[in-house]
C-alpha cells in the first residue's frame, strides 16, 4: 500500500545533502513550512542554496538557517520583507550571495523545469539591470530575455490536507508558491495540518496531484 506519510519532521527532511538547492515556499510568513525548516536546521545540511520569495523573518525557519551560517546563496524576488535582519546581517557581511529574480520569473522558471522544458523567452526585465548578461531576442517587435529552468533538489511545502498518496489542498492565499515548488524538486516534502482518507479529497479540487509528492508529515495540533 502506498503511504507517503512519515512520522516526524526529521524523517521528512532526512537525506538532504550539503550544497542542495532547497525550494522554500511561502509569501511573507504565509504558507511557509516552518516545521520543516526547523527540521532542516536540526538535520545539519550546509552550503544551501535557497529559492524563496522573501528571505526569512525573525530568528525562526529560514532566518534561523541563515543565522546558523548554513545558507550560501538566496535566490529571491524581495528580501526586504518583515524583520529580515538575519538576511541583512549575512548580506552585509558578504557571507551569502543574493540572486534577485522578478517574482513571476522565479515561479515560471520553476514551472519550466517541472514541465521538462529547456527555457523560455520573457519580456519581463528586458532592458533592465536584472537582465544584464542574459541572452536577448526580439520577438514580434518586443525585446525578450532568455530564462532557464530552475530546479530544486528538495522542496519544503506547506499544505492543508493530504491523503496517503500525497494529494494536496491548500488554504486561501497560503497556496502561493507551494504548488509550483512541489512540482519542481527531485524530493518534495510536505507538512500538512491533517491527513484524510484516500478518496476524501474532491478529485476536481486537488491542487497538487500526488505524483509530485514524496513525503508527508502532519504538524501542529493534529500531529
Amino acid at each position: 500500500m502506498i503511504d507517503k506519510r512519515v512520522n516526524t519532521t526529521a524523517e521528512a527532511v532526512a537525506g538532504v545533502r550539503d550544497g542542495s538547492t532547497v525550494l522554500v515556499a511561502g509569501f511573507g510568513a504565509v504558507g511557509v513550512a516552518d516545521h520543516l525548516l526547523d527540521a532542516l536546521h536540526e538535520q545539519g545540511a550546509r552550503e544551501l542554496t535557497i529559492v524563496a520569495n522573501n528571505s526569512g523573518n525573525g530568528d525562526y525557519g529560514l532566518a534561523r538557517l541563515i543565522n546558523a551560517g548554513r545558507v550560501r546563496k538566496v535566490i529571491c524576488s524581495y528580501p526586504r520583507s518583515g524583520d529580515y535582519s538575519a538576511f541583512l546581517n549575512a548580506y552585509r557581511a558578504k557571507s551569502l550571495e543574493l540572486e534577485l529574480v522578478p517574482q513571476g520569473t522565479i515561479s515560471e522558471r520553476m514551472r519550466c523545469h517541472a514541465a521538462g522544458l529547456g527555457g523560455f523567452f520573457s519580456p519581463v526585465s528586458a532592458g533592465t539591470k536584472l537582465a544584464e548578461g542574459k541572452e536577448t531576442r526580439e520577438i514580434d517587435g518586443r525585446l525578450h530575455v532568455f530564462e532557464k529552468p530552475l530546479k530544486g533538489d528538495v522542496a519544503l511545502i506547506k499544505a492543508n490536507k493530504a491523503d496517503r498518496w500525497g494529494n494536496l489542498t491548500y488554504i486561501k492565499s497560503a497556496r502561493n508558491f507551494n504548488p509550483v515548488m512541489a512540482m519542481a524538486a527531485d524530493l518534495t516534502v510536505v507538512e500538512v495540518d491533517a491527513m484524510v482518507e484516500l478518496g476524501e479529497l474532491d478529485p476536481e479540487a486537488v491542487v497538487t496531484p500526488s505524483i509530485f509528492v514524496d513525503r508527508v508529515v502532519v504538524v501542529g495540533a493534529d500531529a
Binding site: 504558507g31 524576488s77 532592458g127
Partner: protein, 234 residues
C-alpha cells in the same frame, strides 16, 4: 522654493482620483503603498475585480478588527479578504495573469517616470540595503494599461517626472498615465499631456516642478477630489 497658492492632493485623494478611472468589470492589480488605497474609492455600485500577485483574484477590503485570517494577505503582506466570486490560484498562474496581459489596469507606485513612459520603481541602489524587485517588473510589463500614482516631486522638491530616469529602470516605455498630487498627465507619442490640474495650478507652475516639456490638453479640467476627510470616509 516656489510659494504655494494651491493645496497638493493627499495620498488618499490621489488614490481617489486613480480609482475614478477604474471601469465596471476591470481586472486591476494595485501596487504596494498608495495604489492599495485606491480599492476604497471605487465609486459605489461599480464592480471592479482586484488581483493580488500572491494568488488572489477578487480581493476584498481590509478585514474588520478581530476577523483577520492569517492565511489571507495582500501583496504588501497586510491582512485582506476575499469577495464573493473571488478565487485562489498558485503563483505561476497569478503571474500568468499579469505577464499575459489579462489585467486591464496595473496601478503602481514610482520613484521616477520619464517622458517616454519609462518606469523606475524598484531600487534606489542604496548600497546599505539589498535590492528587492518583487513583482514590479512583471506588473510593469503585462497589464493592458500601466498607470502610476506618485508625488510630483521628491521631498527636496526635485522633479520625479524626468527626461530620463536616473534610477535603474523597471521597464521601458510602459507608463500610460501618471496621477500625481498636482495633476493627471498622460504619456503620449507626442509627449506629456496634462489633462487635469489641481485648483490654483497653472501649466507654468507645474512645468517648474517637471523636467520634460508639458503640454496642456485643450479640454483639460480641474482636478477636484472630495475633501480629504470625505475621501477617507467614502
Amino acid at each position: 522654493m516656489i510659494p504655494k497658492s494651491w493645496q497638493p492632493l493627499t495620498r488618499e485623494q490621489m488614490a481617489w482620483r486613480a480609482a475614478q478611472d477604474l471601469k465596471e468589470g476591470d481586472y486591476v492589480n494595485l501596487g504596494i503603498g498608495i495604489p492599495t488605497l485606491a480599492a476604497s474609492y471605487v465609486p459605489p455600485g461599480r464592480e471592479v475585480i482586484f488581483h493580488s500577485e500572491n494568488g488572489i483574484l477578487g480581493m476584498g477590503p481590509k478585514p474588520e478588527p478581530g476577523k483577520e485570517d492569517p492565511n489571507m494577505v495582500d501583496a504588501g503582506k497586510n491582512k485582506t479578504t476575499l469577495v464573493p466570486g473571488g478565487c485562489f490560484v498558485h503563483h505561476a498562474d497569478a503571474f500568468l495573469m499579469i505577464r499575459g496581459g489579462h489585467l486591464d489596469v496595473s496601478l503602481l507606485g514610482a520613484f521616477e517616470v520619464s517622458e517616454s513612459g519609462d518606469l523606475a520603481n524598484w531600487t534606489t541602489e542604496d548600497p546599505a540595503f539589498p535590492p528587492g524587485v518583487g513583482g514590479a517588473m512583471d506588473l510593469a510589463v503585462g497589464a493592458r494599461a500601466i498607470r502610476v500614482i506618485m508625488e510630483h516631486t521628491s521631498k527636496r522638491g526635485e522633479p520625479r517626472i524626468l527626461k530620463a530616469c536616473t534610477y535603474p529602470l523597471t521597464a521601458a516605455a510602459c507608463v500610460k498615465r501618471i496621477y500625481s498630487n498636482l495633476a493627471v498627465i498622460d504619456v503620449t507619442p507626442q509627449g506629456l499631456l496634462v489633462i487635469e490640474m489641481i485648483a490654483g495650478m497653472t501649466l507654468e507652475k507645474l512645468q517648474a516642478s517637471t523636467e520634460p516639456r508639458l503640454q496642456l490638453a485643450p479640454d483639460w479640467q480641474v482636478l477636484a477630489p472630495p475633501e480629504a476627510s470625505e475621501a477617507r470616509a467614502a
